[in-house]
Symmetry: C2
Subunit: 395 residues, 2 copies
């Protein structure tokens, strides 16, 4: 790609996402010890700032792990062997709830939604009503494998109305937290899990579980074996004055997260969420302008990533591969969707100009691969969506 | 501390340890995606380089967690509820093996060694002979709470001779790996666990478990619930071509570890181990010159950190606190040893000049706190030890 030199790297995946240089700089400072006032002050700031993003007044447990580790913490702390567990999934990551619960000896019931679609809250409610003995219900907010974002509030309302009082609700907000509003307490989720490497604009290494008092009560009675992910152990350390961690944390990532949360709060969460909606809207407009068909929902709920169908006869895997030659990373499809879709992330530290650049790269790769494309149509579509929104806002 | 401006930070704890700027710089590069050839090449290099440090031909599983997470992986993958598990501990971190195994429903037998002393391999062998039904034996290489480093090879030999054939041996080398030679295969350990933030000169966030074929066989039969720390899941991903991780890794830390391992191999592991011995020797010489009594063994086995008794009547907690005013971090005692010892780390990216600086800071704090100290005696003692060794080497 001689005409593209110098190659610059751009990350447009649903996670890890690009990290602001201020965050990288904070992580490159000489390493400090985690049992010092300097680190404790950072940890305190992070633990104080996180609940706002979760929309909760509850404590947020911080783990050094991937998001799956935080999901496993929810299962290990809430589920005993033999318990009935309900999972409403609409993609690969929702299905993971069921895989973990099975490993912990639960009887798992699964409600599935067609790939690429948003789950139907009413249908889930009806299904939950048929399982009055279930102890826990798990679902997903943003399904990273398809780009569909559930109406997590409506689902919680339906499940609470239909399910037994003792039913605990868990939400995987790993790729949505900080991109799409989460209102844990209003919605009534007992645990919400997330990770550092998505819209929180920090490298991977940290994961979170916000724990309601009901979930805490259950966790004290559950006998499933756990140490590293034990909420009691982790939260006991965090409750100390000054706060601490039960185990040595990925402290450079915590230092980065502190700065990322500051940047997030400076922009203002409402503006952050509106920005993500706008990026999704422009990406969909670009794909329509190019004549490509969306795989996920064509509405403003798709604010984290945009999944696009690969036209029949084209090699779907070739697109991310060619983009890599430009320094640009997008995601292909996973499992059954391999080669059939591509996924453009617009999550985290991404603005409208970045988004146009991303479309330019996708368009360019399509042209070079001989896919059906009118050069300029995509970027113009995205740009019109952005400037139209701007004009709308200026009015 | 006006006379000390500008304050510069120095980390002399047994972990986290100081990180070379080249490692920090590698971690501050723009974030890349973990499913790309660029990251896969880094992961492959890291996975290829690690076994040498473990002294093993086996695979090393890589987790995003603290060292305790890797310890828990050893228990969760090797122990069923009701199994008899043997733990030979000589400090706080050895005891942790027992705590984890109890949480997994094991019947735990503990052999204890007096704090500050090295365990007696023959005595452990005799004790193991009394438990022919045990399935696993866990012990510690470097006990971070006291500075004692076990003769892990002699212990393994005694345990193998005395125990049943099916007994699996696990070693916590979290604070020793890369500071004191580990010869997993020669010694006969089935699993050795370690972390990124000690002698591997990388920030915390990654942990490792090197898995022998015997341990792998057992892990395939064990039913204890696990997903995130499941060796099968993690190693299946690592075995792919190119290698991958089962879950999103703390990828900036992996990028750093790659550079740290290069630095380690450039210095040469034999020289690295000799350096740690020399740093321990000089630190003990300094304490002797100051008239302070050691808490740990007074021999070259104490190569990771030096634990020193706080003289009666002195406030032991005041020393690390005062040092912090200088930007210098050392560790106090933990649990029963709180206020009774202080611990000077000389582990990882520390050279002889750093070591003299560290002694200078300790001496200075002692003097300011009114502890019994002859200013200059400590640094002179350390310096004589270093220059004597230099003269010896030049001969």
């Amino acid at each position: 790609m001689d005409d593209l030199r110098p190659i610059k790297t751009h990350l447009f995946t649903p996670g890890p996402t690009p990290v602001p240089p201020e965050v990288l700089a904070a992580m490159a400072a000489p390493v400090i010890h985690h049992r010092t006032p300097a680190f404790q002050a950072v940890l305190e700031e992070v633990l104080d700032a996180l609940p706002t993003v979760f929309g909760t007044a509850h404590e947020v447990a911080l783990f050094t792990s991937s998001g799956t580790g935080a999901m496993e913490s929810a299962v290990a702390n809430l589920v005993n062997p033999g318990d009935e567990v309900l999972v409403a999934e609409f993609g690969r990551f929702g299905a993971r709830w069921g895989q973990i619960a099975e490993r912990y000896g639960a009887t798992v019931r699964v409600h599935s939604t067609l790939r690429g679609e948003r789950p139907d809250a009413a249908a889930i409610g009806e299904w939950v009503a048929q399982h009055p003995a279930a102890v826990a219900f798990f679902t997903t907010h943003s399904e990273t494998s398809t780009g569909a974002v559930s109406d997590a509030g409506a689902i919680a309302a339906a499940v609470r109305a239909a399910g037994p009082d003792h039913l605990l609700l868990g939400l995987d907000a790993i790729s949505s937290l900080g991109a799409v509003e989460c209102r844990q307490d209003d919605w009534g989720y007992d645990v919400v899990v997330a990770g550092s490497q998505k819209a929180l604009m920090t490298p991977p290494g940290l994961a979170f579980a916000s724990v309601s008092p009901r979930a805490w009560e259950r966790c004290e009675q559950v006998t499933s074996p756990r140490m590293y992910f034990d909420w009691r152990k982790n939260l006991a350390a965090q409750r100390k004055t000054p706060p601490s961690t039960a185990f040595t944390p990925a402290l450079t990532v915590v230092l980065g997260l502190r700065v990322a949360l500051q940047i997030l709060h400076e922009e203002g969460l409402d503006q952050v969420y509106a920005r993500h909606v706008q990026l999704g809207r422009a990406t969909r407009a670009a794909m329509h302008a190019l004549g490509y068909e969306l795989f996920g929902p064509d509405d403003d709920s798709s604010a984290v990533l945009t999944a696009v169908r690969v036209p029949d006869g084209n090699d779907g895997a070739a697109l991310p591969k060619r983009l890599r030659d430009y320094g640009v990373t997008i995601a292909g499809g996973q499992d059954d969707l391999k080669g059939r879709i591509f996924r453009v992330g617009h999550c985290g530290w991404v603005n409208e100009l970045d988004n146009v650049l991303c479309i330019a790269a996708v368009e360019r790769a399509m042209a070079e691969l001989g896919w059906d494309v009118e050069p300029g149509a995509g970027v113009a579509g995205a740009q019109r969506a952005h400037l139209g929104a701007l004009a709308g806002a200026a009015r």
